[in-house]
Symmetry: C2
Amino acid sequence: MTDIARILAAADRLKGQIRRTPLLSSPFLDEIAGRRVLVKAECLQHTGSFKARGGWSAVSALPDEVRARGVIAFSSGNHAQGVAAAAKAFGIPAVIIMPEDAPALKIANTRALGAEVVLYDRKGGGSREAIGAELSAARGLTLIRPYDEPEVIAGQGTCGLEIAEQAAEMGVTSGDVVVCCGGGGLTSGIALALEAKAPGLRVRPAEPAGFDDTARSLAAGERLSNAAPSGSICDAIVTPAPGEITFPILQRLAGPGLVVSDDEALQAMALAFTRLKLVIEPGGAVALAACLFRRDQITGDTVICTASGGNVDAALFAEALTRFGDA
Amino acid sequence: MTDIARILAAADRLKGQIRRTPLLSSPFLDEIAGRRVLVKAECLQHTGSFKARGGWSAVSALPDEVRARGVIAFSSGNHAQGVAAAAKAFGIPAVIIMPEDAPALKIANTRALGAEVVLYDRKGGGSREAIGAELSAARGLTLIRPYDEPEVIAGQGTCGLEIAEQAAEMGVTSGDVVVCCGGGGLTSGIALALEAKAPGLRVRPAEPAGFDDTARSLAAGERLSNAAPSGSICDAIVTPAPGEITFPILQRLAGPGLVVSDDEALQAMALAFTRLKLVIEPGGAVALAACLFRRDQITGDTVICTASGGNVDAALFAEALTRFGDA
């Protein structure tokens, strides 16, 4: 069970290991959004995404003798790098199971961080969970789940602690906090932190069209799956369904969900390039896209959103600039 | 005369108006550079460059009745936006004289910030100084020079105060601080701040090949000019010669200079994209390029560099990614 005490304990362990990322803004974005937009730049986090928080939190929370045997994770890329970086810092083995169609940059970075990468065929219906369980048992590795894992949620929750502090410094005490949502680790972690530290701020999950399992699940009151296992450029936040642990937290504290198209995510990336000088990946841009292009579904004078990762291949980023640059 | 007292006074006036930009790093960049590289991300500053510091400092230092008549500046773009943003905040008129071949984004942003933009023909030998003096006299506007202006240098010096603080927090007390250098406002301001607050850190100006007036002037012991008025993609830091006020400061506190090619600046931009998730313009990337590609001319275990601006057109950034992306 993740609660504020566990998040605060994670924040203690993360001190000096994790960046307090800035909350950025631009008058040009405010004009498009019709309100002030504050962007939590987690793409500037170590490993290029907020996943470094959860990875460090989970690895650092293990008992010494368990941690020494090593860790294993399945991930389309950002969780992989977060876990691999923490494992490297602790000098322990890390095995990462990645879909073979993950962005080349994420696979290369995970290997460069010293992890052993095992690729599987996502489109062929391969189950990363089954592969993970088997390897975990065979080698005595501890499986670090990407979101349904209390210490991972606690680590992501430290991002929420920072948002609460930074919002207070800027005089923002109420409004929506739009969070890029895959399995819900970041979204639920931030929601728990804000419940304790900034109860006037409400979390709104943002997802890509076709992979809006969380929005539909929140509306239905039960966990629903996506129709397809992949097919959005927002690879970082494409998950089969909301998590078992994360969903009840979201039901209690978050919603309704916001949904944007892949093209709107690309356009938000181009605007973040021009106006914030940030590199954001598609899955990390859906929250900003929701702020910019779903203004009627958002309330308040100020909206906060996460730019949760920046691990995008150069070719796709260049495409976003070519199609939507100088917008 | 700019001294540490004037820089500290500027820092007081800038409080709440200017971002304390982060000092970022990546193990992948450290490996290329052969030492730890800490990047002061001034591209994340308001208006997309450090020039917001000097603009605010100079405009806020004017007596009320003088400021009310308005200000005028000549700039290839970043100083323009810095002055225009400050003028807008104070609700006073701003006239900006820009070369007609300045990046379209910089011209558009300056206009969007409410300034009146006057274009001149840089290649045809037009003198922006003459145009500035004439308009200034005719309308009672105060000319805010881009670097040879004590309050501007003091404003840029606040970046040096932050570098001194952040370096101390990270345990860095000696080594080189490589600064993107045009007329020398940022370079001399940082040098003065470090002299007082972190005397073990030494400023090294970085410039593009063919426009290395500061490096050559420091070596010669006198102010030398560049052969051509323009012709580098590093438009932000192409100036005719070191400043009258800034050069003596650099002679006393900085050097020797470092020189990189335009292609090396583009490659540094691509690496900052991949490894730091930052958008840097060519002129803002020469210091990082010097850290990465002139390692034998730099000393110490850690080097700090400025990423001084991010106002680059999408087409040029896409070119950098196409040529040097996924490097």
